[in-house]
Point group: C2
Chain length 238, copies 2
């Protein structure tokens, strides 16, 4: 707050402080837009800009014809930042491509891509290293497109949604993730240089186009001690 902030921000910040300190409680109505305009000596459109900030932050809820009311931050809504695909601390992974091949048979994942039985599907298999320890196995499935070559550099380093964005002609607009738990197979244990039947986190991502066509599927099998996910409630920022 050291720089000169715009009036709509000061207004929003003041109300935020009142909410966080408990001066304004859940369900309380904040002053009307006209009143706030008088209080701060600003026009109503400027007040509304501040109100919009608070609404975006999830701190208030405005009801047409009634007013704006305090609503405590939604702590049940949490955000995962998966780009820095969080290892146990916050460090980046090193990718190593294991294989890149066509899958012709009706693989369970390939089927989910909604393709005709004879469509070609690419399977990319990578190992993710953290501190030179193999920490996760990732399998990426995507439709094969002629004239969309896969560059090795991208294969090695790019995260899943980026790979899809580069190598499919539809624009990816949605990512659905499922986090579950399983045990390591013998082959997976070998790759992760650990014992089989160890517990693992399984992270499955499906990327969709605007028409809800699945463009790609990723399945990550993550070592128990070398991987964890972090999430944080994202609302309440100002």
């Amino acid at each position: 707050m050291r720089k000169l902030m715009p009036m709509y921000y000061r207004l929003a910040y003041d109300i935020k402080l009142d909410i966080e300190s408990g001066k304004l409680k859940e369900g309380d109505m904040i002053p009307t837009e006209e009143q706030l305009g008088e209080m701060y000596g600003i026009s109503r459109m400027t007040v509304r800009q501040g109100i919009a900030l608070l609404t975006e932050a999830g701190l208030i809820e405005t009801l047409k014809g009634k007013g704006s009311f305090v609503r405590l931050p939604k702590l049940n809504q949490l955000v995962i930042n998966f780009h820095n695909a969080s290892s146990t601390d916050g460090e980046q992974f090193r990718y190593k491509l294991l294989s890149a091949k066509m899958v012709y048979d009706n693989h369970s994942y390939a089927q989910q891509l909604g393709l005709a039985p004879d469509d070609k599907v690419i399977l990319l298999r990578s190992l993710l290293y953290k501190d030179d320890l193999p920490s996760a196995i990732e399998e990426k499935y995507m439709r094969y497109l002629r004239g969309k070559p896969l560059l090795e550099t991208q294969l090695e380093y790019a995260a899943f949604p980026e790979v899809i964005a580069k190598h499919q002609d539809s624009v990816p607009v949605r990512n659905e993730m499922v986090i579950s738990v399983d045990v390591l197979s013998l082959e997976q244990a070998n790759l992760l240089e650990t014992e089989p039947f160890q517990p693992v986190m399984v992270i499955t991502q499906v990327i969709y186009s605007k028409d809800d066509v699945p463009l790609g599927i990723s399945r990550m099998v993550c070592h128990k001690d070398r991987f964890q996910l972090n999430a944080t409630s994202y609302l309440g920022r100002l």
Copy 2:
């Protein structure tokens, strides 16, 4: 789109369609605010309202003095909706309180609450049922406050952030979650009516006040086959 939508929304929706269809590509500059005003016959403030929608949705990024540029939705940022604490399908859990007691010793979780060694900490232990199957064990730790009685009904049914909101005098403003993997202890296996050493998902939540004081800690141990987490990229909505 069947009802008459305001002009700023039509503008935003048109641009959204152009992005999703690929007509506007990543990095492209959209028309200037003045141009958009002329194109739609609306004033600049109204244009800016539409631009704000697109920015909120994460579809564009505006740079002062330069313009607004297309930015594909951040598929690496995903939202978990934890209030309907997603079981393997989407159903609600039934809570059963196992115990509610004071913890006096320096328990590892109690320590994290940043209390003096002789402060009292409440430990609530619950079992979460899904389809009459025990699916998760939850342990909630929170500071004991005189004059803030814990109502049994709330203990049984409320999700963690709600319990904190009711029973602490500071306003909870942030929730940090860590998702990891472990194996069941003998006692946990008993409670979940399954074999020990089975893999489990461990979900730890820490609720903070505005001063970053931890108000409560929750640790959920979730049965492999009866629990999974779902997350979805939240941007790109309009």
